[in-house]
């Protein structure tokens, strides 16, 4: 049995559900893996720990992570993308005229630090947003609640639910619906690990896909129990809501995933995403972006029965 | 007319030491009263009680009218280490709100009186032990108090300086009519300066003798007088008795 450590990008939540599922229901074990999940958090930098070889697999957020590795000559690549749509949303108060991205122009938007160099640049470029709209976001929606004109960033399955429970039924705008085409929730691994243990990587990817399949369509109870144990702030209602919206919006299963299986990635989509980042000035055009990923382990139709 | 009446005064320190027990003493206005007694018998404590810096554990302390303005020389120099000699000496005046020019003038005069001219700008750590004590004396003189309390002020001084300051003090007292409470270990000094001398015995401290020494002149002549020699003899004797009593 192979012991591996997998680092996530935040505290345990439904967006990590498939991985917890695979641990909880023994899928990884069936694939000959013993997986330990380490939670990330606002200041945890698992990317560096992966580069340093302290963890074996890392959950990448958006596609930028993989490109950052390439830009800094770090031999790490993405081998699967669990989400076909990035669940990044902007949410606004209802009845304030907010309906789509264009209507948010000029309004104050609460953005976290990392937003500033990723989707905010995309928003500026495609929607003409300006820097004076930015307000700091420290993962507390309280300032949003206090000001009806405020817009805030969020995650499809989290903030809308939180805000709703606090009494504001928000307008939710999914960036992916407006052409924000980054891959998301990728599985990242070091290049030499891929070369030395391709079978381990393959098994991890396959088992994770099965885990996700079960989590979204089977009985998520065990995974949810594990998530609640790791993060006491989670409750059943929140988790159920998250699973519902992940399914409704085809976050995991849409586009290529419908034909190639969960985790699907294609050269064309990577190129399109990369070109977008070059256009907004994040990366130089000559970056060897193809080194950022490998299609070796996905697109095999795993889980499509 | 008595300025201060002390009756049955006792003091016990938190640690348990009974420093004073049943002290009765009346201080007359204009008196020059010396207090003598063996080391540790409670002289400083008595002065501190009079100054109101300690509260007696028993007995009473009554001023005739308002408490007069006090000038004080503690047993230790007690100078502000960050302040110059001039500022230290001028302190009581400053606290009284005297204007700068005026208090500088008065402080200069007091500094001159104790023989420290030229050291106005020095800070205490640049002074010798005796010089520090003289700054403290100058400070007590500078504000022209009504009541002067001095705790072995001249102990750290050479004999010639000491005699000179004895004379300065006597002159001040004679001229201004102030009341002086003077702790000293020198029988000669007390006999030379005082109009009355009380002797204390230790553990717990109490008064054992009081000697009147009516005299109205001073200078070398007085030191040669029979009066002076007699006073010295009497005081020495009661001091010896007080200590024998303690042993």
């Amino acid at each position: 049995k192979d012991k591996v450590v997998f680092g996530t990008n935040w505290l345990a939540q439904a967006e990590h559900g498939g991985f917890y599922q695979a641990v909880a229901d023994g899928t990884y074990e069936k694939y000959g893996l013993e997986v330990e999940i380490r939670m990330g958090g606002p200041q945890v930098n698992h990317s560096l720990l992966l580069a340093a070889g302290k963890i074996d697999f890392n959950m990448g957020g958006e596609g930028y992570g993989a490109l950052n590795y390439v830009q800094n000559n770090i031999p790490v690549l993405a081998v699967a993308s669990i989400f076909q749509k990035e669940p990044r949303v902007l949410i606004a108060h209802p009845d304030t005229g907010a309906t789509d991205l264009a209507s948010l122009k000029g309004r104050p938007i609460m953005l976290s630090k990392d937003a500033m160099q990723t989707f905010w640049l995309w928003l500026q470029h495609t929607q003409g947003y300006t820097d004076d709209q930015v307000r700091p976001y420290n993962f507390s929606p309280a300032p949003f609640m206090a000001d009806p004109r405020m817009v805030m960033q969020g995650y499809l399955s989290s903030e809308p639910f939180t805000v709703q429970k606090a009494g504001v039924k928000p307008v939710v705008i999914l960036l992916a619906d407006y052409g924000y085409d980054t891959y998301s929730t990728t599985i990242e691994v070091k290049r030499d690990f891929v070369e030395k243990h391709p079978d381990v990587v393959q098994r991890f990817v396959d088992a994770s896909i099965i885990g996700w399949k079960t989590y979204l369509h089977g009985d998520p109870a065990k995974a949810n129990a594990a998530i609640k144990a790791a993060n006491p702030e989670m409750d059943d209602e929140q988790l159920a809501y998250a699973i519902k919206v992940l399914n409704e919006h085809g976050i995991v299963e849409s586009g290529d995933a419908l034909t190639l299986g969960i985790g699907a990635m294609t050269d064309a989509r990577w190129k399109s995403f990369f070109d977008g980042t070059v256009k907004v000035g994040i990366y130089p055009a000559d970056l060897a972006f193809a080194k950022a990923y490998s299609l070796q382990f996905v697109n095999k139709g795993v889980g499509l029965k | 007319m008595s300025l201060l009446k002390i009756a049955g005064l006792s003091h016990r320190f938190p640690g348990g030491t009974q420093a004073l027990h049943g002290v009765d003493l009346a201080v007359a206005r204009g008196e020059f009263l010396s207090i003598l007694g063996p080391s540790g018998c409670g002289k400083s404590t008595l002065l501190r009680l009079i100054m109101g810096l300690e509260q007696p554990s028993a007995g009473a302390l009554a001023w005739a009218g308002r408490r007069p303005e006090i000038g004080v020389v503690f047993q230790e120099p007690t100078l502000m280490p960050w302040a110059s000699v001039l500022d230290n000496v001028a302190l009581p005046l400053r606290l009284k709100g005297v204007a700068r020019a005026e208090r500088t003038r008065a402080a200069q005069a007091a500094i001159e009186q104790v023989g420290l001219s030229g050291f106005e700008r020095a800070v205490p750590r640049e002074l010798s032990g005796g010089m520090k004590m003289r700054v403290s004396i100058a400070r007590a003189f500078s504000a022209k108090p009504d009541l002067l309390l001095m705790d072995e002020p001249f102990a750290a001084l050479d004999e010639i300086t000491r005699l000179r300051l004895d004379d300065e003090l006597y002159a001040l007292w004679a001229r201004l009519g102030l009341t002086v409470l003077f702790v000293t270990h020198s029988v000669f000094e007390s006999a030379y300066l005082s109009s009355r001398i009380v002797v204390m015995a230790p553990r717990p401290g109490h008064l054992v003798a009081s000697h009147d020494t009516a005299h109205a002149a001073m200078g070398a002549a007085f030191r040669a007088s029979a009066d002076y020699a007699a006073t010295c003899g009497r005081v020495s004797a009661s001091l010896a008795a007080a200590m024998g009593q303690a042993a």
Partner: protein, 261 residues
């Protein structure tokens, strides 16, 4: 200390909390903006199990960090005052440690240290050590020069001077540093938790409760966690103050009982 003097802080606390409660009620502030004390108290009680176990984790790190930083800064201070050369050459590194944001170096620490407890200990210690170091050095320097001369003259060795003269002289200052460090160790523990990754299922401290509760807009619970931190901070400070008073009362001016005017 009189009875009234003991009660005063409690009275003030009641007034503060009452005013807070009244303000929230009168302005009808929603809990996610500012929860009323009563709401926070309710949350404290309802979530007592979660909060208590988190508090325990945070306190463990705090105490470990306080002890570690006290010991290391005492040693460092002793080394530094040995000579101006050593001080001038090495003190800058202590300053660097003090000003380096934990958030920035934690990932690097994580690369080299496996054990999460050790990581948090290192981080919290880095946050807490500097005031003890500075104050102790000041204390070791402020030795009565007369006593220093005496020791030199009586042929005291370096170690003897250290233990019989310098350390006792520095004790009051060390204790002031310790009291400052108590609070810093606590925030250090909280911050350290932020930055070190935790294994799922592992115990998590108050920091996570705050972040997560904040994000979930469970502001009363966030305040409950903050209240626990505040109480822990006051308790640590109180204990260290008592320790300080006890050990200095007999001889140091700062701990002298004074008549109130």
């Amino acid at each position: 200390m009189s009875h009234a003097q003991r009660l005063a802080p409690l009275l003030v606390a009641l007034v503060v909390l009452g005013a807070w409660e009244a303000m929230v009620r009168i302005n009808d502030l929603p809990p996610y903006i500012l929860p009323a004390p009563s709401v926070i108290a309710a949350s404290l009680w309802n979530d007592r199990v979660i909060l208590a176990s988190s508090l325990l984790v945070t306190l463990q790190i705090t105490l470990a960090a306080l002890v570690t930083s006290a010991v290391t800064s005492l040693l460092l201070a002793v080394v530094f005052v040995q000579s101006r050369w050593i001080e001038r050459s090495l003190y800058p590194y202590a300053v660097i440690l003090q000003v380096t944001p934990i958030v920035a170096i934690a990932p690097l620490v994580l690369i080299y240290v496996e054990d999460p407890f050790a990581v948090m200990l290192v981080c919290a210690t880095i946050v807490a050590f500097f005031p003890i170091l500075s104050n102790t050095m000041f204390g070791l320097r402020s030795v009565d020069p007369g006593l220093e001369d005496l020791f030199r003259l009586q042929g005291a060795g370096r170690l003897q001077t250290l233990f019989l003269l310098r350390l006792p002289s520095a004790l009051p200052h060390f204790l002031v540093g310790l009291r400052i460090a108590g609070g810093l160790a606590l925030i250090g523990a909280v911050v350290a938790e932020f930055v070190s990754s935790t294994t799922a299922g592992g115990a998590t401290g108050l920091a996570w409760r705050i972040i997560e509760a904040g994000q979930r807009l469970n502001v009363p619970r966030m305040f409950a966690a903050l209240a626990l931190i505040a109480v822990a901070g006051i308790a640590i400070f109180g204990l260290l103050t008592a320790l300080s008073t006890l050990s200095l009362r007999r001889w140091h001016d700062s701990a002298r009982r004074r008549q109130e005017r």
